[in-house]
């Protein structure tokens, strides 16, 4: 009933939720974003940018399908370039969502309650974008289904020794589980929207999605178990996904790819970029929708700390990478590392070091962590840095491998750009649809954060 909504503006708070909220106000403030008739300019702007880029994406894909991979800059020996770079980048971004919703749940970090919803949405959409690339980068995308084992008249099956097949399973499982987790989390809130919307159509739609959820105590008890189980399953899964992605490189013998510590290195990097994306999304959103009371500076602070921690792990990995290359005494490894630092891709390498190791050190300072604007910029820098990291690992290693006679450098074409920007468009498009149509903060979980939610046993009759 949007008329009698009691929306209150809260000043930013050091707590994970501002004082003064009631079950009602929390519910109204969050659901208002969805149920209100008027759409903010901010949303309009972002959505139309996303939509525009999405159209560019469709153009790029159409051209790709008509003409072939040749429209990209990929070449021998750099057979993978921006396509796989973007794939790994997007997958990595996805990780923060699952981490927040699953791992922090298991660790009983109640501050997660107000950011997990849109973080999970971010995961889904990032995985959707990532999923585009393995498909599009195929020479013959239309036979994609050959990558799955199914009974067929060709009497041939996928090669289960290939990391790419592991990828297929890992990524599709990850996408499925994230979707389930997200939907289960949505159930009670869908119920709320169903009960609060004034439009018959919306009530019908949300009603179907809510499946008749009525908040019965019986449901709640099963529900709690289910969420715990899902969290328990999602935790090893999220760690495995980027491990498997890193196998794409470590299983190969290309110098610069073939190393044993990629899995932890990649997972850390993933969470790093993921939290950067969380901040990059949360900071503008909360100020536009006046949610500072629910997504408080405390949340930003915690996320920034996690970024710093994972950033340090990533930095350590860079050093380890260089060290092992030198210490191994392997001619090709050493040369690959040396070329990376001094060769045609030196600029990319050193800028990624700057973005990922040097810049984030400012997060040590509380003053920085408490300035949303600075945090926002920092997270953009990290996002760029992490993209460069993947680019350098993939392209510079391929460009100069074993036989100098075959060396060659990659140059991106305008279609590489179009495809990359295109997926960013796809992401924005989906994300802002989500903002408009679903509660971006888990309402029922925020209710539990309220002091009123405590049952004080003294009151006995």
């Amino acid at each position: 009933m949007p008329e009698n909504q009691e929306v209150i503006e809260q000043p930013p708070s050091r707590e994970i939720i501002a004082p003064g909220y009631t079950f009602g106000t929390v519910t109204d403030q969050i659901s208002a974003v969805v149920l209100t008739k008027k759409t903010p300019i901010f949303w309009m702007a972002c959505f139309s940018v996303g939509f525009g880029l999405l159209l560019l994406f469709l153009l790029a894909v159409a051209t790709l399908l008509v003409k072939g991979i040749g429209i990209w800059g990929n070449r021998a020996p750099v057979m993978w370039a921006w396509d796989i770079t973007n794939f790994v980048w997007w997958i990595g971004i996805g990780h923060a969502g699952t981490l927040i919703s699953a791992i922090l749940l298991l660790l009983n970090q109640s501050w997660r309650n107000s950011i997990n919803r849109f973080a999970e949405a971010m995961t889904l959409f990032a995985v959707a974008c990532a999923g585009m690339y393995p498909v599009l980068h195929l020479g013959r995308p239309w036979v994609l289904y050959w990558l799955f084992p199914y009974p067929n008249s060709m009497a041939i099956q996928p090669n289960f020794r290939s990391p790419l097949i592991w990828d297929v399973f890992a990524v599709s499982t990850y996408a499925t589980v994230s979707l389930l987790f997200w939907f289960v989390g949505l159930l009670p809130d869908l119920g709320t929207l169903r009960d609060r919307t004034s439009s018959r159509f919306a009530r019908f739609a949300y009603g179907i999605l809510a499946m008749g959820w009525r908040g019965s105590a019986r449901h709640w008890s099963v529900y709690e178990t289910a969420t715990l189980l899902l969290a328990g399953l999602a935790t090893p899964l999220v760690l495995s996904v980027h491990t498997v992605v890193s196998f794409d490189f470590t299983i190969a013998i290309v110098p610069g790819w073939h190393s044993t510590f990629f899995p932890p290195y990649f997972v850390a990097g993933a969470i790093y970029s993921g939290f950067a994306m969380v901040l990059a999304l949360a900071i503008p959103l909360r100020s536009v929708y006046g949610l500072q009371g629910l997504i408080t500076d405390k949340h930003l602070d915690n996320s920034a700390k996690i970024m710093l921690a994972t950033g340090l792990i990533v930095g350590y990995s860079y050093m380890l990478e260089a060290f092992t290359a030198w210490y191994s005494g392997d001619v090709f490894e050493a040369a690959a590392m040396w070329n990376r630092m001094t060769g045609p891709y030196a600029f990319a390498y050193w800028s990624l070091v700057t973005c990922n190791i040097v810049a984030p050190q400012v997060l040590w300072f509380k003053r920085v962590r408490s300035k949303p604007v600075l945090l926002f910029l920092a997270s953009l820098v990290v996002l760029l840095g992490m993209w460069l990291e993947r680019f350098v690992i993939i392209v510079s290693s391929l460009a100069q491998d074993f036989l100098p006679s075959s060396w060659g450098n990659f140059h991106a074409t305008r279609w590489d750009w179009a495809t990359y920007l295109g997926t960013i468009g796809l992401f924005l498009f989906l994300f802002f649809l989500f903002i408009r149509l679903l509660p971006m903060i888990s309402i029922f979980e925020v209710r539990t954060l309220l002091p009123q939610a405590k049952v004080d046993e003294e009151v006995r009759s």
Binding site: R75, M79, L138, G139, R140, L147, I156, V254, L403, S406
Partner: protein
């Protein structure tokens, strides 16, 4: 509807378009194509002939890239004529090559012997014919010049046959005419000539070795006593001719036998890779270098040359000298040998430091050594070489002389100047140009292009409608050598009767038939002309048998010219040449291009895309200069320079070449064609624009200065430096090797086979393997074209090559070792290694590449989804990806070219070398039919079959007695990147050099 009828329709289309199509390329060409498609005639033809138009394949950022599609383009538009005639066998009886000599079964179907000619000289080939379509050229083992090997030009000639850009219709000033009309016009002109004894009749040909044509020309001469026959061959043996005349007072034909030569001195002669007998020489040379079993004797090669050549790369001692200094060097050597009196020392210390040891080495090997003068060196050098060989009594042992193989060995420059004189005098009424392309490739100062127009009636018989056709009223379509009868002599005079494999595609006539039109019996067919000539020559009975044998073998028995022993005219041998002073200028060196020769192959995609030896440059020529000169001019590779020679100017891109001598700029002829066809037009620059009659091959006085702009080269290899840590090429000195046969094995680290976590796969039955002898390989690149022809490998065009997307399954890497000014040069052919632990297989998600029971690394094109992961994981980078639809599925005439035993790959799939699995299976089927094992040598891969030096050996490694097993067992055998434990089935034999110990002293 008859073929000629189709020609006319085609003409209508061309007419409808007129000039718009000519010279249009890339995107422009597209526009023209649309216009073309818009014309009703075209649509009609499409309906009738060719339902599917070639559309929908990629362009790229770069308009140049459009050229890549030349094959398809032409398919869509102009190649429609005479299709239904394509697979018709000639009516005359032609003799299939039935007898299969030991050790050779090149492929499946029928083989016919004939001969390809280059600059008039024959090299014998066997042509593979599928249901009447010639698809592949092999060498003719019976033929003295080829001995079963084959060079890139002959290999690619089959593409030229089907080239849709060939001259397809007889035209008068661009309008289609019938042969009848031409014949009428010709008789008219001849009637006039009859009245004045043919004073106005001129015939201009290239070098002619064909006895039949010689007799025709003689007949014409008799008919028109005042007529003249001129010859011009831009890359002909002018100097050799003059050299012999200088040394012996008359012209002789010279050839060598390297099998008997322990020491060879090359005076700027690229005898291993160019010249009519290079294939033979290369084989003989390699045979004397092969170190196997206990045999550790190697011949020794000294090379003095300005620009690195395949021969130079094999040299044990390579002395970079300017072309002009070679004479000085020859003189000094002759002096040291006491053949001539010249200075014993001079400004150029290098030379005199060298001649001592070389001379003593030669003296030690009297009768078993050889001095070869470069075909592009001045007569004096040839004379000195003749004298030295005589003095070292090599004549009859390593050097042989016969009467000239040419029908009329005149000084062609003089002959051409004579023609020019008559043209200026307006004395030429009827000029018949047979073949060649004088308007493009004559010396620049003669201005042939315009001068030709001074002849009243100009008739041109040519394979292409090219620069010369442009200035002639009549353009007659010439038949390709695979389309007609003829004959030609090889380097030693041996005659080959050329037999046709297919009816003329475009209703052309052969030179014989056209020349015949000038004689009493104008309308004879080529077959009768040739046969009657030889019937007349053949004394005695049994001509039929002789003829059949000659046609069948591709060699006419006993036609080799008798040996002669000419005597040196000592007076002419002088060794007091002055070194030409540069005086601040450069020395211009002109050479025929390694892949498109004098320009005649400019429209041949295979040859354009064949990386040139050592530079690995494709689709272009360049101003090749030394690092020093580049530094002095302040230029680097791909910068533009302006070259000026005696007032003639030319802009050209720089190519900085290690091993190039300071002060000399090498220019390869044949590029800069303006009317070659859609493949060749507009690539590179045209050095003919600087080439004058008195400096055909080299001359000082070339000025070069840096200008603005830079150029996009397309090379297949950018890094040539050999770093010692990556053991890519193993080499040793022969002495070193004699002392310690294990020297190679010690330097090559390869993990023991036991070093593995999982059980080994067993390969019972056959286990195919290959050994490549780096010691023999000259890097000529014939194998690359052979592979392309055998395996239907697509041409991708300059832009795609630039983007690193060349499709060759087999590449020849070249590396430099040592100081950049005079590096040692190594060549390394790299096919698929067929690793037993293939990294590519492990990572393919769909098992599109997996191992066969015989150890082949199979590639299943129709299973490939194109993740390109295999290529990333291939340490040898031998996998090729179809980024676009490179193969041509449309062009009708090119469909005929494809080898039916090999899949034509489509867009988005990976492809690579499979050891010519189609040949393996063909041989296995045979063997099974006869219930026996496949014999060793029964299977020859395309690259192996064509290799002049027999550097590539393929066979069953399970059979300890197979040649390949024996080679692999030897101490020189090593695996590329063995430390990765990929266990390649293709291994290499290390390169050995045989330096003269006296040089160390």
């Amino acid at each position: 509807m008859s073929d000629s009828q189709k020609d006319l329709d085609l003409a209508a289309v061309r007419g409808a378009l007129g000039a718009r199509l000519d010279g249009a390329r890339g995107r422009e060409y597209w526009r023209s194509l649309d216009e073309l498609a818009a014309t009703p005639e075209f649509r009609e033809m499409i309906e009738r002939e060719f339902p599917r138009q070639a559309i929908g394949w990629s362009e790229d950022e770069d308009p140049v890239e459009g050229r890549r599609n030349f094959l398809k383009l032409m398919g869509a538009s102009l190649a429609l004529a005479g299709l239904s005639a394509c697979t018709r066998q000639p009516n005359e009886q032609i003799a299939p090559y039935i007898r299969q000599p030991e050790e050779l079964i090149p492929g499946r179907p029928l083989f016919f012997a004939t001969a390809a000619t280059l600059s008039g000289v024959a090299s014998g080939v066997l042509v593979e014919s599928h249901e009447g379509r010639p698809t592949k050229i092999e060498g003719n083992p019976e033929h003295p010049a080829t001995l079963g090997a084959c060079d890139a030009f002959s290999q690619a000639s089959v593409l030229q046959l089907y080239d849709p850009d060939r001259s397809q219709a007889l035209t008068l000033n661009g309008e289609i005419e019938s042969w009848g009309a031409f014949f009428g016009a010709l008789r008219e002109a001849l009637a006039l000539q009859k009245t004045k004894n043919g004073a106005g009749l001129r015939i201009l040909t290239g070098t002619i070795t064909s006895p039949t044509m010689a007799s025709q020309l003689a007949a014409v001469q008799k008919l028109f006593p005042a007529s003249k026959w001129h010859q011009w061959e831009p890359a002909g043996a002018h100097q050799e001719r003059a050299g012999a005349r200088l040394a012996f007072g008359q012209t002789f034909n010279t050839y060598y036998n390297l099998a008997n030569a322990n020491v060879v001195v090359s005076l700027d002669s690229d005898f291993l890779a160019s010249g009519p007998a290079s294939l033979r020489y290369a084989r003989q040379f390699a045979a004397r270098r092969r170190v196997s079993g206990g045999q550790t004797e190697m011949n020794r090669l000294y090379v003095a040359e300005p620009t690195p050549t395949p021969t130079g790369s094999k040299a044990d001692h390579r002395l970079p000298l300017r072309s002009g200094q070679i004479e000085l060097f020859a003189g000094a050597l002759a002096t040291a040998l006491g053949v001539a009196q010249g200075p014993k020392s001079g400004a150029n210390a290098d030379i005199y430091k060298w001649v001592g040891p070389i001379a003593s080495d030669l003296k030690k090997n009297k009768g078993a050594c050889l001095v070869i003068a470069g075909e592009y060196q001045p007569p004096a050098v040839h004379a000195l070489a003749h004298a030295m060989n005589a003095a070292l009594d090599n004549v009859g042992k390593t050097v042989f002389y016969t009467d000239p193989i040419e029908a009329n060995p005149v000084d062609q420059i003089a002959s051409l100047q004579d023609l020019v004189k008559d043209l200026d005098a307006g004395a030429v009424d009827l000029l018949l140009i047979v073949g060649g392309n004088p308007a493009f490739d004559s010396p620049v100062e003669l201005g042939m292009r315009d001068r030709l127009k001074k002849a009243k009636l100009r008739v041109r018989l040519g394979l292409y409608d090219d620069e010369t056709s442009e200035v002639c009223q009549w353009q007659l379509p010439e038949t390709h050598y695979l389309e007609t009868w003829g004959d030609a002599r090889a380097f030693d005079g041996t005659v080959t009767i050329q037999q046709p494999l297919i009816q003329p595609l475009y209703n052309g006539r052969s030179p014989l038939e056209v020349l015949q039109m000038l004689t009493e019996a104008p309308d004879a067919r080529a077959y009768d002309i040739v046969r009657n000539y030889w019937a007349a020559q053949y004394a005695g009975a049994g001509f039929e048998a002789w003829w059949r044998r000659a046609v069948h073998d591709g060699v006419a028995a006993g036609t080799a010219l008798a040996l002669r022993t000419p005597s040196i005219q000592g007076a002419n041998i002088r060794a007091n040449a002055e070194e030409p002073r540069l005086g601040g200028t450069f020395e211009a060196i002109f050479r025929p291009d390694p892949t498109i020769y004098d320009g005649r192959f400019a429209n041949n995609g295979w040859l354009q895309e064949l990386p040139k030896p050592i530079t690995k440059l494709t689709w272009d020529n360049a101003a090749i200069m030394s690092l020093g000169d580049a530094f002095r001019l302040g230029v680097k590779t791909a910068d533009m320079v302006e070259l000026t020679y005696q007032g003639w100017k030319l802009r050209a891109p720089v190519w900085v070449q290690p091993g190039q001598i300071d002060g000399a700029i090498t220019l390869h002829l044949g590029y800069g064609r303006t009317r070659a066809g859609r493949v060749g037009t507009g690539f590179g620059f045209n050095p003919y624009g600087l080439r004058t009659s008195n400096a055909l091959w080299s001359s000082v006085g070339l000025e070069a200065r840096k200008t603005t702009g830079s150029y996009l080269f397309a090379t297949t290899q950018n890094e040539h430096m050999l770093d010692s840590e990556r053991h890519i090429i193993h080499s040793a000195g022969i002495e070193e090797f004699r002392k310690n046969p294990e020297v190679i094995q010690e330097s090559a680290e390869s993990p023991p086979r036991s070093l593995t976590l999982f059980p080994e796969w067993k390969y019972p039955g056959y286990a195919w393997g290959m050994a490549i002898d780096l010691n023999s390989c000259t890097g000529c690149g014939a194998c690359v074209v052979a592979c392309q022809a055998e395996n239907n490998i697509a041409v991708v065009g300059k832009d795609q090559v630039r983007r690193g997307r060349a499709m060759h399954w087999l590449r020849v890497d070249s590396y430099y070792k040592g100081e950049p000014t005079k590096p040692e040069i190594y060549n390394q052919p790299v096919p698929c290694m067929q690793c037993e632990n293939a990294p590519c297989e492990l990572v393919c998600p769909v098992q599109a590449t997996a191992h066969s029971s015989e150890g082949l690394n199979d590639m299943v094109y129709n299973r490939c989804v194109g993740t390109r992961y295999c290529s990333n994981n291939c340490p040898y980078k031998v996998r090729r990806f179809n980024f676009y639809l490179y193969s041509d599925f449309e062009t009708p005439s090119l469909k005929l070219l494809h080898n039916p035993d090999v899949t034509v790959r489509s867009r988005g799939v990976m492809e690579k070398c499979t050891y010519c699995v189609q040949r393996i299976n063909a041989a296995k089927i045979d063997a099974e039919k006869q219930s026996r094992q496949v014999r060793d040598g029964e299977i020859q891969t395309a690259c192996q079959a064509t290799c002049p030096t027999e550097a590539i050996i393929f066979g069953n490694v399970n059979d300890p007695n197979s040649r390949v097993s024996k080679m692999k067992a030897g101490p020189l055998n090593y695996s590329l990147l063995a430390e990765l434990n990929t266990r390649p089935r293709t291994t290499y034999l290390a390169q050995l050099r045989n330096p003269n110990p006296e040089f160390e002293a």
